[in-house]
Subunit: 422 residues, 2 copies
């Protein structure tokens, strides 16, 4: 089945909004086994909308139109679809009642133009999910179909996931269950992972059952996506688990989490399981390590706090760093220990380095020392990070969290540290 | 002049990359006074590329194609454009030499397929700017024109700014200088600003010379963009300054910066001018205030540091907050003063609150207290912030920075504080 995506909105053409819906939808369609060959963006103009939808119907089996479903005079997607179908709009009284109720239940006065949203092209149906006041539409036309969904991302996503994709798969006769799992990796390049998994991927090409794909995620590392197709939910789940196991046997050391897990959620979970509390001392990252860990709900049972020692005297006075240069492994170690002592935690971690734009203490931009203190084990690791000020700092944060993660696992290529738990 | 933008790349259709080029280009074209009515995304497929470019030439005067200019077999934009033009590709020896030199000067071996990038459709010209190894193209076709630029954002932007837009304006006979300035506001809604500026905008509609437009920037507030058109650079600059003055007279109290300025850069500049140093105490924002201020190069001459007192005992022990509830105005004040004292700064600011998902100390999610200590002036402000955990925290950060900004200006609707400088 071929699908085409048409985004309606002058604000998209003017660049006032980035069309992130297109990327999201593209990914969902690909995962569902549906081809999407064209994405088109046009403004709120009747003739251009009509021409574009008509052309899309000629070259695709299904068309998803987003936007133009609101209550204002600009919003003409309903009218244009009715025109393309050659039918009238009929007011759906059930939907009209829902819209009236939404306003009344919030004590707001409803202007009559809101009821335009209850108009449905004859032969079409409203999409049952209705997170906002604008209902979506399913409009069959011969053996083809037009779907209309709002441009608001969360409304669009709910309707696509719960109605449009299942309907489209049914029409396409796609009965197979497609499921995927993302394995998140850190510390290996795409070509490195590709090389390690070449044999496995060649094997899968031959026997089928699953596919493996890579997806770069910027500073967050590389995702390895396993996708399986099966006759039932249960079979799909088993195939996923089997393939995950096989992949982990090959690149397991680089995998830090799956699906919704993040580096910060994984590190917090590991500390929690080991009954360890954490303290942070930051210099070059200026609070980003703390910000990232506290973005996870419930982080307060692990994280005691963080000292951003931006001025050197704070490092000396509060963290007991010996006076002298501060972009050094010694300073990183002292900071990790100082944070642990000052904040009364079991584990201390730290960053000190040079994010630029200019060098510091004779160290080049990108030099970042990571510090770690667990029990009697106090260590520093030096990294040379690429990119501009923002990237160096972001890389510094995730590098520090991964450093802590590996040590909690008792894993390191160079030192014999075997992890400590209380 | 009408322009159409065609983005080439299967990875865009699959949602592996968000098409942020489209938004950026849309904004540049609008600012240059060029209409863009269609944006189309297609994969690396010869026939579909040919069809789409041909259709674009029928309905637009200029077509910008991005992507497909690299050295691999997938990259066929050059071939397709030559086919649309009905001409052959000719190797440009000067470009070929440049490509060879790039490889040699980095000590890398060049495979021959890299020279494909030096092939130019007959009648076309390479774009002189060449930040990568893929040259862009200008290909006139009758009174229309096709531009080809790489998909890599920074390469695309350089070529568009320095070559494509000037060329397009020349072809369109657009000799007017168009210039714009962004005034960044915080603390007023779009409808509020719209109402305040209605009269001014009606006046401009009548007499011309400048236009005013609003652009929402999420938690960063609202941008007010002034755009002027004039015969010379000098006239444009004067018209901009005059209109900025007029707008500031109406909404000046909400404007915190212009163009590249940010809330954090403005606050740091104000502290620097007043010779004041800053200390931060954070709870609910977990390091985000520190992270945001230290994102500005040179912040170290103003910012001493930050204490993220996530656990209550850190608030009591290090910041001298009186034992008891910590989501209170008293705690916010004590934290601001405690940070100032502990870190030896002139000014202290603080956040304490509830980001959710669940309430705390009987306070609902979204409650955030901001604290401020300058000289003898110690104050707290309570805010009730909307959204989920991430948004509440982000709003908390910018609200705190704006709170400090207003106090440094000696401005407040409710208290008589008139600012202090040493």
């Amino acid at each position: 089945m071929r699908c085409e995506f048409i985004a309606i909105g002058t604000e998209l053409l003017l660049g006032q909004i980035v069309n992130s819906n297109a990327a999201w939808l593209g990914e969902q369609l690909a995962l569902a086994g549906i081809d999407c060959l064209y994405q088109v963006t046009i403004g709120d103009n009747g003739q251009r909308m009509k021409d574009t939808i008509t052309q899309a119907l000629e070259r695709s089996d299904a068309v998803i139109v987003s936007g133009g479903l609101g209550p204002t005079q600009d919003d003409i997607t309903r009218e244009v679809i009715a025109e393309v179908m050659g039918v009238d709009l009929i007011r759906d009284e059930e939907i009209a009642e829902k819209i009236r109720y939404r306003f009344e239940s919030r004590g707001r006065v409803m202007s009559d133009n809101n009821l335009r949203q209850a108009d449905i092209p004859m032969g079409g149906m409203p999409i049952p999910q209705m997170p906002g006041t604008a209902p979506g539409l399913i409009c069959p036309l011969g053996d083809k179909v037009i779907y209309a969904v709002p441009g608001v991302p969360f409304e669009m996503k709910m309707m696509v996931n719960e109605c449009v994709l299942p309907d489209m798969k049914k029409r396409a006769g796609l009965t197979a269950i497609i499921k995927s799992r993302v394995l998140k990796t850190w510390g290996q390049t795409e070509s490195g992972l590709d090389e390690m998994l070449t044999e496995r991927m060649a094997y899968l090409d031959e026997v089928g059952g699953a596919t493996i794909a890579f997806q770069a995620s910027g500073i967050e590392g590389l995702k390895v996506r396993i996708t399986v197709k099966a006759g039932s939910e249960q079979e799909a789940e088993k195939a996923l688990s089997d393939e995950e196991k096989a992949v982990r046997e090959i690149i397991g050391e680089f995998i830090f989490g799956t699906d919704e897990e993040t580096m910060e959620s994984v590190v917090l979970d590991m500390l929690r399981q080991r009954n360890l509390t954490l303290a942070i001392a930051e210099s070059v990252t200026g609070g980003m390590v703390g910000a990232r860990l506290t973005s996870v709900p419930g982080s307060s049972d692990v994280l005691k706090g963080c000292i951003v020692a931006y001025a050197s005297e704070i490092k000396y006075n509060i963290l007991d760093v010996p006076e002298g240069p501060v972009v050094t492994p010694d300073a990183a170690r002292a900071m990790a220990e100082g944070a642990r002592n000052a904040l009364g935690a079991d584990v201390g971690i730290s960053t000190t380095g040079v994010a630029g734009p200019s060098e510091q203490e004779g160290q080049p931009v990108g030099t970042v020392h990571l510090g770690l203190a667990i029990g009697d084990y106090i260590e520093a690791q030096m990294t040379q990070l690429p990119g501009d000020r923002a990237r160096i700092r972001e890389y510094g944060v995730i590098s520090l969290l991964n450093f802590l993660r590996l040590r909690l696992l008792g894993r390191d290529a160079n030192t014999p540290f075997a992890g400590k738990t209380r």
